[in-house]
């Protein structure tokens, strides 16, 4: 698969899975580990997908949609992150660096996707108005049309975002922006630490004991294996 084909497939994948985040289903297909795993199979490097997807999943483990603030876009993050990793791995940088750069690209994609979601929601105001004006005449077709438009807009905007970010990463590669060796892996071991801090930092005071218990059991398992 050429790089251009890969970008097209990953963009459509990110767009389709992103629909799950708000517009439809909410069966967690939009979680970064799910999107990353599928993207890993698409680019022919399932391990890359697992690592980038897991790291993003951990970083956002405690994120809640507070009020009207949407989640970071895990679907676009997973597919863009894995895509950037694959583009770099294919151009000869070390596997570790490709993974780390992919993770950072995924973080960026997730945050940009979050703000795209907010903009899409403002477009939805117009679709809702269509539903309401038709409803005045006792016509339900406006409601059905608004639902279809809402889902389609979500798919298109998320796909375009993924395509834009993946294309940008091709350009960045030409500029040699990812050549600072050894920097990016830091974010990888930092992810479990951040997840631990966030798990007990939010509210649960008693949960620190469960975290400590898990940590202790895990240490015993790791050291004894």
């Amino acid at each position: 698969m050429s790089e251009v084909q890969m970008i097209v497939v990953l963009s459509l994948l990110g767009g389709a899975l992103s629909v799950d985040a708000t517009a439809a289903l909410q069966v967690m297909l939009s979680q970064p580990l799910v999107a990353g795993s599928i993207a890993g199979v698409v680019v022919g490097d399932p391990v890359l997908g697992l690592v980038v997807g897991s790291t993003l999943q951990l970083i956002w483990i405690g994120v809640l949609p507070v009020g009207a603030t949407p989640f970071p876009d895990g679907a676009v993050a997973g597919s863009v992150g894995v895509g950037v990793g694959a583009i770099l791995a294919g151009s000869g940088v070390s596997e570790g660096l490709a993974v780390a750069a992919g993770t950072i690209a995924g973080l960026t994609a997730g945050v940009v996707g979050q703000s795209v979601t907010s903009h899409v929601r403002r477009l939805n105001v117009g679709y809702a108005a269509i539903a309401e004006s038709r409803a005045q005449q006792g016509d339900a077709r406006g409601v059905r049309a608004a639902v279809a438009l809402g889902v389609a807009t979500r798919f298109v905007t998320a796909s375009l975002l993924a395509a834009a970010l993946l294309t940008a990463s091709l350009l960045l590669r030409f500029l040699g922006s990812f050549t600072v060796g050894g920097v990016f892996p830091t974010v990888l071991w930092a992810a479990p630490v951040a997840a631990a801090a966030i798990t007990i930092g939010g509210k649960g005071k008693k949960e620190i004991w469960f975290l400590a218990a898990g940590f202790a059991v895990g240490l015993v398992l790791v050291v004894s294996s």
Binding site: Q31, L33, I59, V63, A190, V193, A194, G201, V222
Partner: protein, 255 residues
Amino acid sequence: MTTDSDRETAQVLTRGERAGMLWRSLLLQSVWNPLGMQNVGFCFAMLPLLRRCGEDREAKSAFLRRHLGFFNTNPVLASYVLGAAAAQEVAGAEASAVASVKKGLASPVGMAGDALFWGALRPLAGAVAVLLALQGVVWAAVALLVIYNVPHLVLRVRGIGVGAVAGPMGARELLGPRFRGAVRWTRALVAFAVGLILARAVASGGVVEPRRVLAAGLFFVLAYAAARARVPVTVVAFGGAAAGLVLLLTGLNGG
């Protein structure tokens, strides 16, 4: 197998109406907007009942408009509200009664659903799947989907039935100590699983590396303080990457 509660539900809603509301409820947030929030999605999910208005244009218009009113709750447990609102419609309740059922249920059901699904089950499914991924399990994502979706789909289906039979009282089962206990224990499991993941992160190749533990400890304190101060986690993650850059440039990271 037909249970008693199935038969009771069938008296209120036909099987086709229930099935129609169920799949449509998956699109509850399709037109999520800052003004009406889930209003269009709620109306869409109620469309199977529009037929009961007959061909009267006024009745259909009133039905659509009352379900296009502001609505916002947790998307999974919205099924309890849909069921209760459907029961009101079938019983021919006044528009104001239907509206007050929706309004009264939206907030408590939303809080219960957000606590269980966003605050507990989604992190649990993610943490367990990451643990599997760390063991090199390629289908870790499938575990995430199964752990989350079994309770998700059960409560989505159940909510419509319970709401249709018991009306607003059906949501009581979401507000009791058993439900809160389930949320608490699920959150405890999340913390345990994250602890396991953390242990794997500071120990590599079966050996606990003191330098890694020290660095992790330092970063933990910073990240914990950031979480308490409500700094967005993505900022913390970028901060971790920036810290790595500084360590590298000053030659302190030791490889």
